[in-house]
């Protein structure tokens, strides 16, 4: 019988059968969660953020920093509501975003690059890892839905553009092409023909926000920050609702 002794130094962890059983269950849940969040969160992101994340020439100053954090804070909030409330695990957001990145990278390489020959630079996914780490950290330190909604939601959105800038800045370099000033990302888009995504559908820099010049990006980021503070508690409660433990008589 593996029992802990008061005089053991250092204290020995409990290693009986029940401990091994619960550890085995943890591993099963880890595998389950890995594929669940790759599959579910990736589909959610692909169909709500989709093209802004697929294509280099969609990563603009206006829509991309607005839409991506807003749609990406959803699953992290829902998963945090279960993992933090019930298991005191401050890693819901990091888990979701790690799974998302694994799924996106596999697809970009094998579906876009190897099957249809898009250069990998054209389909690089954005990263949300710094945003997720900070969101988890704020929840852990504050243990407060309100504080995490406000500070965490804002941080999640505001960190998005700066954390991606080192990856994508080089593609925003201006070039002259056909007597017009474009970015390298624009030229990529023109060179690699996409029959399902013609130029007239490209939603970038629409409206008059671009007349603010260099302020377009921070304006979009702060708009996203406001919306994320609202989206976070909404999805926290959605996650809580989905994680019901009710049994019913009929369906």
């Amino acid at each position: 019988m593996a029992t802990t002794n008061l005089f053991d130094f250092p204290p020995q962890p409990y290693t009986g059968e029940k401990a091994r059983l619960t550890r085995a269950f943890d591993y099963l849940i880890l595998v389950l969660a890995l594929f669940l969040f790759i599959g579910a969160f990736h589909l959610h992101m692909a169909l709500t953020v989709g093209d802004w994340d697929f294509w280099l020439d969609w990563k603009d100053r206006q829509w991309w920093p607005l839409v991506t954090p807003l749609m990406a804070i959803t699953f992290p909030a829902a998963v945090q509501s279960v993992m933090w409330t019930h298991f005191r695990l401050p890693l819901g957001a990091t888990l979701c975003v790690s799974c998302l990145l694994i799924g996106m990278w596999i697809t970009r390489i094998f579906a876009y690059h190897y099957w249809n020959y898009f250069p990998i630079n054209v389909v690089l996914p954005a990263t949300l890892m710094p945003s997720a780490l900070v969101l988890d950290m704020i929840l852990m330190l504050s243990n407060s839905l309100t504080v995490t909604s406000i500070l965490g939601g804002m941080s999640f959105a505001l960190l998005f553009y700066p954390s991606n800038w080192p990856i994508f800045a080089m593609f925003h370099t201006s070039v002259e092409y056909g007597n017009a000033q474009l970015t390298i990302a624009d030229v990529f888009g023109f060179q690699y023909i996409r029959t399902g995504m013609p130029e007239y559908l490209r939603l970038i820099e629409r409206g008059t926000l671009r007349t603010y010049g260099q302020y377009a990006t921070p304006l979009s980021a702060f708009c996203s920050a406001l919306l994320c503070t609202l989206m976070y508690p909404l999805w926290w409660h959605l996650g809580k609702w989905f994680a019901t433990i009710r049994y019913v008589k009929t369906i």
């Binding site: 085995a24 099963l28 579910a40 692909a46």
Partner: protein, 259 residues
């Protein structure tokens, strides 16, 4: 009570012969299922790589009928055989003695249910992550002149039915082998299976929209939101986990600890 009492499952008698700890007696079956599914999905992707550009760009070509519509029909036959076989097996081999089940046996079945759900989420990965986003990639290079494109034949008509099969199997396993799930219907388990099932139904709206509305492949549009709402229900897996953990804590208190 959903099931009646007349006999024990054979698995209970066999257990003890394995080298594995009693609570993970189905581990090899679980790993085998992973290996089998991986082989199928990677095989399908290799087939796409071999015959996508060669014969999958134009549905009016005779080669399209040979390489792609034939694959579609093979998938339908496969699914038509596997659905009744697996669900029929789970139902016919149900436990008729759920009132007398021992704590250790029930704990083992919670492990097996978790393995079923894990296999289900593995199928959700291929359907919702890899092949779903690959649809966007393929429709940038192919002529979208049929609902049965070289990627749709895999994602919509194989991957989606496959995860529904496995999700339904997890639901049936719980319903026929675990007392709490047999006495009443688990809401989170039902949500986690039925919600993603609606993604398959959304294929109808998707194809209708792409036929009458627009033919381009713009992913982040309301036409695709049926898929999005369906996948949100997978968050109910958190509820299944909580239900399982609550019951497993009770069961662990009923058994003797071993070194």
């Amino acid at each position: 009570m959903a099931v009646t009492t007349s006999g024990h499952l054979p698995a209970q008698a066999e257990h003890g012969q394995s080298q594995l700890p009693w609570y993970i007696r189905d581990l090899y079956k679980y790993l085998l299922a992973f290996a089998g599914l991986t082989a199928i999905y990677i095989g399908l992707r290799l087939y796409q790589g071999a015959y996508g550009v060669l014969a999958g760009l134009d549905s009016t070509e005779p080669a399209f009928q040979t390489y792609w519509m034939r694959l579609f029909h093979v998938e339908l036959i496969f699914l038509a055989l596997v659905y009744p076989a697996l669900w029929g097996y789970l139902w016919l081999s149900r436990d008729h003695n759920l009132d007398e089940i021992a704590a250790k046996e029930e704990l083992t079945r919670y492990f097996t249910l978790t393995m079923w759900i894990s296999i289900y989420t593995f199928a959700v990965y291929w359907a919702g992550s890899y092949f779903a986003e690959q649809d966007n990639s393929w429709h940038q290079v192919a002529i979208r002149d049929t609902p049965f494109t070289a990627n749709h034949i895999i994602v919509f008509y194989f991957c989606f039915p496959m995860y529904i099969l496995l999700g339904g199997s997890a639901w049936l396993y719980a319903r026929t082998r675990l007392p709490l799930y047999a006495k009443q219907i688990s809401l989170p388990l039902t949500l986690a299976v039925l919600g993603p099932f609606m993604i398959l139904v959304s294929v109808g709206f998707n194809e209708w929209g792409h036929t009458f509305w627009f033919r381009e492949e713009f992913f982040a549009v309301p036409l695709h939101y049926g898929f999005v709402a369906g996948v949100w229900f997978s968050l109910a897996v958190g509820g299944i986990l909580l239900q399982a953990v609550n019951r497993m804590i009770e069961l662990l208190d009923k058994i003797e600890d071993m070194p």
